[in-house]
């Protein structure tokens, strides 16, 4: 038996904002690695979660391509739709991440994590990016499916990197929204109900299925404050080459994700106590 060390590792200089950022980056790496390890051991979720986006692409996408009901200019409807479904599948993973946090609270995992030398904000950021990693793995499956259906996408590595960043930021925002709701309602059942109640409205009040110009005025207003729309616009611009305000899109996603990390962090101790 190798000997256990008798003294804890020396404390790193982790005081101050720079220390918190360094810890947040380190913890994010750790949580993302754990998420990848879980996916490696259990890939069934990737398959089961691919069913719904596959149906959207196969049924909705192909039917609406044939009837030409939604004008998308020179872009084929399936090419227009694929980035929306990509964002939707990431949204569905992230928005229910709060349920996992509540499970972790009930199983004592959250308490164990909170007793480690990790600032709350670093823990929430790490969890949110881990959700992003899971969403990315799912996005790869959806993207492969889209390619099989003949969707045209870019092969430019820089643009694909942009797709990864947009999906990560979108997932971080919706994951933290989910943790925030979990911190308010404190129960899995209520969070499940609220999650189901908000995901489809978020999806339909975005540009995922149809161009913004086709929406009635009131829906366009909601679309403008819906981060999912900025995520879809960025994904569509990068993958399908449609016009996109990439600086605005990434700016909105970055600010929304940072704000939601801060709000979720403030509610985490309440969730741990609840």
């Amino acid at each position: 038996m190798s000997a256990l060390p008798v003294a804890p590792p020396a404390a790193s200089a982790d005081a101050g904002p720079l220390g918190i950022v360094r810890t947040a980056v380190s913890r994010t790496g750790t949580m993302c690695l754990v998420e990848l390890q879980k996916l490696r051991h259990d890939r069934t979720e990737l398959v089961t979660r691919a069913v719904q986006p596959a149906l959207w692409l196969l049924v909705f996408g192909q039917v609406f391509t044939r009837i030409r009901a939604i004008p998308t200019g020179s872009t084929p409807y399936l090419d227009f739709l694929a980035p929306g479904i990509l964002a939707q599948s990431a949204l569905f993973i992230a928005i229910f991440y709060g349920i996992q946090i509540i499970w972790e609270r009930d199983a004592g995992v959250l308490a164990k994590l909170l007793v480690t030398p990790t600032p709350r904000i670093a823990l929430v950021a790490a969890k949110a990016f881990a959700a992003g990693v899971r969403a990315l793995a799912q996005a790869v499956v959806v993207l492969l499916l889209a390619l099989l259906l003949g969707v045209h996408t870019t092969a430019n590595p820089l643009k694909l990197l942009g797709v990864v960043v947009a999906l990560l930021l979108g997932s971080v925002f919706f994951c933290c929204l989910s943790i925030t709701i979990a911190g308010l309602v404190l129960s899995r059942d209520r969070l499940m109900g609220i999650g189901q109640a908000i995901t489809m409205p978020l999806f339909f009040a975005s540009n995922a299925l149809y161009p913004v110009q086709l929406m009635p005025g009131w829906l366009q207003v909601i679309n403008h404050v819906n981060p999912l729309s900025y995520e879809v616009e960025a994904l569509r611009g990068l993958l399908a080459g449609t016009s996109a305000r990439l600086t605005l899109d990434f700016g909105v996603l970055l600010v929304a994700a940072a704000a939601m990390i801060a709000i979720a962090s403030a509610l985490l101790p309440r969730l741990a106590r609840g």
Binding site: M1, L4, P5, P9, A107, K112, V115, T116, P117
Partner: protein
């Protein structure tokens, strides 16, 4: 010598319910200390204040001389915590479960793998470390959690009902590992339990809590001796907590019972 834990006039309420009511406690470094009491006595709330899980309380808590209210991160680096529930991740392997906590405690990369292996060896899980935790028995899962808590070489190991739901053989194996590690490292062990026989056999000193206060502190032998020549620790418990064993536990006991039942179900 600086105590491992010192609580002075510690108080905490949940709304109108007083969970901890002016608790004074001192635990010497290196001892195995048992916190006993019925459901709702305030044991878990006390642990949550010592482990920084609850906001800074009225009164003071010091861990190895550090003020929990002002030096939270430094205190966390000294603590290993095993909650009542079985909280290891079944999808991950034993090694991955322990490596997660090695990273969360910032163990240096060059020594990390060795320390993870040492922690797994210390709880006799070295040979099965690459199996998924969901294939482990209840006793193995508890020992895995012990390895998670030990990998950062804590100076204070805190265990909340570590043997709940385990069969007698698994219980003994958990205690054997706790005692072996304590002997090897000299760390302080703070444990809550309902099992009087375990407390009697394994704790050097115990505190009996009831209604948020410590009613008696001493070695099991001292407490039993004070009651009579044939007294057992169960009798001491009844003497200080009255009818608590028969169900007087309205103060937050439901959550404890639920957690214990959940854990018992998971270990089969």
């Amino acid at each position: 010598m600086t105590p491992a834990v010192r609580c002075t006039d510690l108080r905490h309420s949940f709304g109108d319910t007083v969970a901890v009511d002016g608790l004074d406690l001192e635990i010497a470094p290196g001892e195995v200390f048992g916190l006993l009491g019925p459901n709702g006595a305030g044991k878990t709330t006390t642990l949550r204040m010592i482990t920084t899980l609850l906001p800074a309380p009225p009164g003071t808590v010091e861990v190895l001389g550090l003020d929990v209210a002002r030096q939270r991160t430094a205190v966390r680096r000294l603590i290993g915590y095993v909650p009542q529930q079985l909280s290891a991740d079944g999808t991950l392997t034993g090694r991955e479960n322990v490596a997660l906590f090695a990273r969360l405690y910032d163990l240096p990369r060059r020594t990390r793998a060795g320390q993870v292996a040492a922690a797994l060896d210390a709880v006799d899980l070295g040979e099965v470390a690459d199996r998924q935790a969901k294939t482990f028995s209840g006793g193995m899962l508890r020992r895995l959690e012990l390895a998670q808590a030990l990998v950062s070489a804590p100076r204070l190991l805190i265990l909340d009902e570590p043997t709940v739901g385990l069969d007698p053989v698994a219980r003994e194996s958990v205690w054997d590992r706790i005692e072996a590690v304590r002997a090897a490292t000299g760390m302080t062990v703070l444990v809550t339990t309902h099992a009087m026989q375990e407390a009697d056999e394994h704790c050097e000193r115990v505190a009996l809590m009831h209604r948020g206060r410590v009613r008696a502190v001493g070695s099991p032998a001292e407490l039993k001796g004070a009651l009579g020549p044939d007294a057992a620790l169960d009798d001491v418990f009844r003497h200080y907590t009255g009818d608590a064993l028969t169900g007087d536990s309205e103060n937050g006991g439901m959550r404890d019972v639920r957690a214990a039942r959940r854990t018992a179900r998971r270990v089969g």
